[in-house]
Symmetry: C2
Subunit: 499 residues, 2 copies
Amino acid sequence: MTDIQGSLSRGGIVHSLHRIFHPRSVAVIGASSVLGKWGQMILTNVVAGRFPGRVYPVNPGGGTLCNLRVYKRIQEIPDPVDLAIVTTPAETVREVITGCGEKGVKGVVIVTSGFGETGEAGSALERDLTSISREKGMVIVGPNTMGILCPYSGLFATGTHTRPRKGSVAFISQSGNLGNQLIHWAEQQGIGISLFVGSGNEAMATCSDYLEYLEEDPLTGTIILYMESVKDGRRFLEVSRRLNRRKPVIVLKGGRTEAGKGASASHTGAMSGEIKSFRAACRQAGLLEVSVPSELLDLSAGFSSVPLPKGNRVGIVTLGGGWGVVTADGCNERGLQVPDIPDAVVRRIDAYLPPFWSRRNPVDLVGSQNPDIPLIAMEELLKCEEIDAVISLGIVGRHELVQLLLRSTLEVEPEIQSARLSQMGALSLEFEKGYVHRMADLMEKYQKPVIGVSLARTQDGTVRFLEGKTYAPVFYPTPEDAVSVLASMVRYQQFLAGC
Amino acid sequence: MTDIQGSLSRGGIVHSLHRIFHPRSVAVIGASSVLGKWGQMILTNVVAGRFPGRVYPVNPGGGTLCNLRVYKRIQEIPDPVDLAIVTTPAETVREVITGCGEKGVKGVVIVTSGFGETGEAGSALERDLTSISREKGMVIVGPNTMGILCPYSGLFATGTHTRPRKGSVAFISQSGNLGNQLIHWAEQQGIGISLFVGSGNEAMATCSDYLEYLEEDPLTGTIILYMESVKDGRRFLEVSRRLNRRKPVIVLKGGRTEAGKGASASHTGAMSGEIKSFRAACRQAGLLEVSVPSELLDLSAGFSSVPLPKGNRVGIVTLGGGWGVVTADGCNERGLQVPDIPDAVVRRIDAYLPPFWSRRNPVDLVGSQNPDIPLIAMEELLKCEEIDAVISLGIVGRHELVQLLLRSTLEVEPEIQSARLSQMGALSLEFEKGYVHRMADLMEKYQKPVIGVSLARTQDGTVRFLEGKTYAPVFYPTPEDAVSVLASMVRYQQFLAGC
């Protein structure tokens, strides 16, 4: 959608992004066999990530790389190229971009650094690239970006070879290294991703463009955003406000303090906006502002996996007292209520627990070993009109501890039959799997969120994605994480209700 | 140290604790072969944990367990018994304790629940046990405790088969399940433990007794404490204040809110103290109060591993800009300064980095691949009179990402030699090992803390214990964790300086 003069309008940029994130063919300019060079890291990531379209390495040296013919110039590629990823040194980029324009490339991701972030000469060069691209109707992502990822199009074009699963979380990051680290974590935590863009210096496409794109992107349901500076404050506010009414936007602002601002100015080539006015704007737009990077992930895991609570009344099911206490404290301190549960519910739970159970919310299972009880208690709470959400503490993850017990028992008890131990280990694993599945079903049935906290740190991530289920159970490592996520979800729900 | 009447004084209780934590012989009363029963879990943990003294299973059924003869009554054991661990049902405990008294046992850990926490009848029974024990000069830990751990005496007497390494952190927990979970985490994070006590209902030995014991315990350097109620407020304040001047005491108070208090009352059988007065008391005593369980571990990892900073001025070394920004923001928001570094230092670093490096604090290594530079920059900052502590972001953990890159390269590049890749993998691992060692040496040389943040989540824990080194490098998963720990260490140092 270039305008009549052949140069790109704002809407044209947004429109072109689809082809960049879902290209049919990709050229890697500066492709290399030297391990650890950007042109090697990105090419191998694209190929090993099984990008389904055509891949064209470009390097004046020619030859082959990854079993693919290397073209000396992009213009020599016989077929159309949707996306070019540029990794050659800054001084070559002008010529490369000109070549891309001649070739009719739709978009370029410029990984190369040494532009606006380095001073006036770099800025001039950056403006130059933008005007060449704009004239050719070609969109620039970056420069000075660590790349992009789109699991749905099979495109993994960053230097970090981490390949998160398909999901509904889009992540726009003005910092490449922070973005890459968080994406690696997202993968380890099982958070599904629709898109990752390192927006770099934003010479052309800005955060606001990406947000506007995401508004209509059917693959995206939750947006996380790391920003240091806003290039177009008014538009950002307008777009993010509109978007946030449809899909939650969670934002971390870097450069909130003098120390942070100094650091930020030296690496993105733009002064940070004033944090006070930024905060006011966020509040007005209902954006969820967080203060640390890990919250971006924690919140995106919850928002993208479980239903939104309709109110702030929390039921807690705990394997033991102390956990219930710290969770209830956390809830109260974050504006969540832990209401009493009706007598009828207490009496129904009485049937399953010894007489000295808490008989109130939090429901303390007092170490009960009957595997059905945690789910019975969870369902009783979900059924309650007085309860909007449940936090379930410490059922999942117990398998880790069971394994430790079985291992020592086998080691020291000569009379034990190892077959019996394996069977018990298998049973405990089976129980956890069943529990996780049932949790997904209960969320579906009652349309209320259940937030889990794992007893032991496990290899499984936060999100337990289950094929074919509407919701994915989540298990945070600590009760404080669970409380914080639930509190943010309640805040967002209140914002929506007030709209 | 029983007093003249043969019953235990306060000081006598404290004195007796040493024999409980460092027993020469242990009886497990209620020992069982039934997997998952307390008497099975604790016996196998003690034996598989390689307790070096004698172990006596006790059960009226007799026979053998773990290759050990089972005694029908504790009185039948021919040799002296220092410690008895009681797991039999509540209604049997009076008789068991009487037997222990007859046998001349020094201390009993009563795991059994069903006492003060369940109501008046339970409280009466609990008082009964206490008076029997007191008369016999025998100390009770618990009842309703999940047990104790002392890696130095080789005693792992909890139901959770987690065996943290020897170290200087003592952990007293009024909640068993929270305590067990945190100890499991401590092990995974490499935090070294001198002692863990689940204090349970504190029928006899209270938190204050344990703290007083730790004051003189040469193995303990840092104390973490989870409390819901204080049985003897004045003494607690007096002991903790004295202790905290020698060894930092980090405390999490459960039951701070109405919701938490309700939950707490139902499970420890005691009403929580008023949080306001508790807070004031903590402040006065200089205790470090945290608000979430994970902070107990994070802080103990830092305090027990790196030197205390002498001031609040932080130097930051980062692998990329965004991380530097969020870390600097975090520092400023937590009262830490990120001062400018002298020109001379900037010029010395100039020699190693491209001209567009930040040339200020945070020192942004702008993705430099030269492996020596992170250490050069770290040492330059440590040398600076203007810097009291360094946060080092994202050098360690890079190996995880290198491995991913090597794996994809091997997969898609037929011309690559796999031997070369293994060599590169080995080099990157070697580099990280060297880096960690050097970090320990630099902390020793400059007597300033370096707090690391890992680039990727790894199997290695937070604390990298190195045999023979005074300090252990620490690597937190997030910059916010590093900042929070450093801020607490600065606060403690300021408290000491003001004493």
